[in-house]
């Protein structure tokens, strides 16, 4: 941000302190996430930088905590559960959410605000209440402490994200395309798959990724609803933080951060692609 030449010293001072303040805020946002990455390579079972680490001695670093994860059947098992639950929950959420978004984007929908409110509610209601409610109810119908129960719970928590992102994508959707397609003789399903789907795909995938990361990182519902055999990575981390505090947690955290970076990059690329496709930003 270049300052105009007529700005005096006071103005400059303001400007630089403003930039420094913003820099500090960015540091505040990012530092906690980045600081655990080097700490996860700590050779000692401590949570702080040892002197060896600060001097960059190579024997102060080790990958023993990562080896710990792989060798510990508990972690491997939790990882497997996390993936299974997240994948199935995402599939359910994406399918149901996309279809619902299609319905919501149509102007003729009756009671639209009420319907929208109900569909978004899983995102609004505090997680502890959702977890409590689902725990009581699912126990009654025998779904507590089962995989299907957990998958359903995560699916319902992920749908609002899909609904929001797909409706946002559909906002700019040119409905004359569907009308043209129907005019040319294609039925509604064919129109959907051949015309609408490719165009809203970035939104769908984006929403799906949101739903995935919501399920993958979710711990409160898992805490109440899952038994030992349905333990997921966050649940295992929770136990680790409260009880067996060891840097293995940091290693797991680092892996999760890398996954987040990967997903974030994907979503960003998709968003740009979608904006390009719709001519909203220069290529």
């Amino acid at each position: 941000m270049a300052l105009p030449p007529y700005v005096g010293p006071a103005g400059r001072a303001w400007h630089y302190s403003f930039l420094i303040f913003c820099g500090l805020v960015f540091l505040f946002l990012i530092a906690p996430i980045l600081v655990i990455i080097p700490l996860s390579f700590n050779a000692e079972p401590y949570f702080t930088f040892t002197e060896g680490m600060l001097a960059f001695e190579s024997d102060a670093y080790s990958t023993r905590w990562y080896a710990d994860i792989v060798n510990n059947p508990q972690w491997v098992f939790s990882a497997g559960n996390s993936v299974i639950v997240a994948v199935f929950a995402t599939l359910i959420a994406t399918v149901l959410g996309t279809v619902a978004a299609l319905g919501l984007s149509q102007a003729h929908l009756p009671y639209k605000p009420a319907v929208m409110g109900l569909l978004i509610s899983p995102m609004i209601v505090p997680l502890i209440i959702s977890a409590a409610g689902m725990f009581f109810f699912y126990s009654k119908i025998g779904l507590a402490q089962t995989m299907p129960g957990l998958i359903l719970a995560h699916a319902v928590l992920g749908t609002p994200f899909v609904v929001i992102t797909v409706t946002a994508t559909l906002v700019g959707f040119d409905h004359s395309l569907t009308r043209a397609s129907e005019n040319l003789g294609a039925g509604p399903t064919r129109t959907f798959f051949k015309i609408q789907m490719p165009l809203i795909l970035p939104g769908v995938v984006s929403g799906g990724l949101f739903a995935f990361i919501t399920s993958f990182d979710e711990v409160v519902v898992v805490f109440f609803l899952a038994g030992f055999e349905q333990r997921t990575i966050p649940r295992q981390m929770w136990a680790g933080i409260r009880e067996q505090i060891s840097p293995t947690i940091l290693a797991v955290a680092t892996i999760l951060v890398c996954i987040s970076i990967a997903l974030l990059t994907t979503v960003e690329l998709l968003r740009r692609r979608s904006e390009r496709l719709r001519g909203m930003s220069p290529g």
Partner: protein, 422 residues
């Protein structure tokens, strides 16, 4: 289709097949409405059954009170005729003696004792002790016998508690959630001083949420301004630093705060190394309210930055330039021209952060220690540890009501449809 100029103005317009256009149009619209609704129906049904229904069930649970009614039916029947003063007569004592022993056989005695004990402390020990001794009694009169076993059986309060808690549906838990209880004489008053927690916890939750919202606003405003005014290339890059925390797991971020803020953590080590504090003067920044505040601010900051950014991006820079050219100093122009235009974003961001923070559970649980715990931690405590599920449900209902009110406010100001994500 030919339109006769003469008939065009007389009688309704007809569609090609002869039906009035209005009817045909209405039919076509109804079909479209149904089709739109049919698309929404699967998800709606899914959300209703797997989400809404459980929450409604939880609301019901907060007033549901079956244990005592189920186990002491005869006693409660006798107590119906009791006027609430003094002590009931022999039939009540005989009934309760019999039913408590039966409850013990059915292994329900513990539940009854626990339930009554929630209301009036000491009843668990009273019942346990009495049942152990009643079993040795062969026959009545029970009134004297019970009072001999423990003097408390002559207290009006004991009997009024039993009568009150015998109601299958009761608002008792809501009273408890608000630190109130029914006094022995029947009126509603406050709990004894050393038992009052929830009022304080609700206040604390609101206070922490307000502070977090305030801090977030303070930190987010300049940053959003920077992001909105930088050219797209740079702002996209910097945006990554906002979105990455947004996408990182909550547990990971909370863990990293533990690592940073503990006594031998990175921040304290840094302070000691620089010389600001001595080795013994390490600051306690975690397992207290400070820890909760710091961690929650960082976690909720993206939720304040994103709405502010999206609003600020729409503000044209020409307003500021116009103000400057009309003679305003930069500060005046900013305060009087720019800031009011960001009001919508500020409102949206603040409401969003506030709504999210009053329901937080994980962060206060991990870094809050004792002084930084919030209402959700207590709900979880009653669900997992004390097993007073109805109280958990009552507290949850109150929290839910508060959130819904705030959300309604958010909808009025911003609108659900305008919620954007990243």
């Amino acid at each position: 289709m030919t339109v006769d100029a003469g008939t065009a103005l007389s009688g309704p317009i007809l569609a090609a097949d002869g039906t009035p256009l209005k009817v045909s149009l209405r039919k076509a619209q109804r079909v479209r409405k149904l089709r739109a609704f049919a698309l929404v129906l699967p998800l709606l049904a899914f959300v209703l059954i797997t989400f809404i229904l459980p929450i409604v069930d939880m609301l019901l649970r907060s007033v549901d009170n079956p244990v005592v009614a189920r186990n002491l039916p005869i006693t409660l029947n006798v107590l119906k005729d009791w006027d609430g003063t003094g002590t009931p007569d022999e039939t009540a004592y005989a009934a309760i003696a019999k039913e408590l022993v039966e409850a013990r056989e059915n292994k329900e005695m513990g539940k009854v004792a626990t339930r009554l004990n929630f209301e009036t402390s000491g009843m668990r020990s009273l019942i346990g002790k009495s049942v152990r001794k009643i079993r040795r009694l062969k026959e009545g009169p029970y009134k004297e016998a019970l009072i001999k076993i423990d003097k408390r059986w002559a207290n009006t309060e004991i009997w009024s508690t039993i009568k009150r808690i015998g109601a299958p549906y009761t608002h008792v838990q809501y009273l408890a959630a608000l630190d109130m209880k029914t006094q022995p004489d029947g009126s509603v008053g406050m709990q004894p001083e050393d038992r009052q927690i929830y009022g304080q916890i609700f206040m604390r939750t609101l206070w922490i949420s307000l502070l977090v919202t305030g801090f977030c606003l303070l930190l987010a405003y300049p940053v959003s301004y920077l992001l909105a005014t930088l050219p797209l290339r740079y702002s996209n890059l910097l945006m990554v630093m906002v979105l990455l925390p947004f996408w990182t797991s909550l547990l990971v971020r909370t863990t990293s705060w533990i690592v940073l803020l503990q006594r031998n953590g990175v921040v304290n080590d840094l302070l000691v190394w620089v010389g600001i504090v001595g080795e013994d003067g390490r600051i306690q920044m975690i397992y207290n309210q400070t820890g909760t505040l710091v961690a929650m601010t960082q976690i909720l900051l993206p939720f304040m930055i994103l709405p502010l950014y999206s609003v600020m991006k729409t503000i044209s820079p020409s307003y500021m330039r116009a103000a400057r050219s009309l003679g305003a100093k930069p500060a005046t122009a900013f305060v009087r021209v720019y800031m009011p235009q960001t009001a919508a974003g500020v409102g949206a961001g603040c409401l969003l952060v506030f709504i999210l923070s009053i329901g937080y559970y994980i962060t206060p649980a991990l870094v809050g220690g004792q002084s930084g715990t919030m209402i959700s931690n207590f709900i979880a405590y009653h669900m997992k540890s004390s097993l007073n599920w109805s109280l958990a449900a009552a507290l949850g209902t109150i929290l839910l009501a508060a959130v819904l009110v705030l959300y309604w406010l958010y909808n009025k100001i911003v609108g659900i449809d305008n919620m954007k994500l990243g």
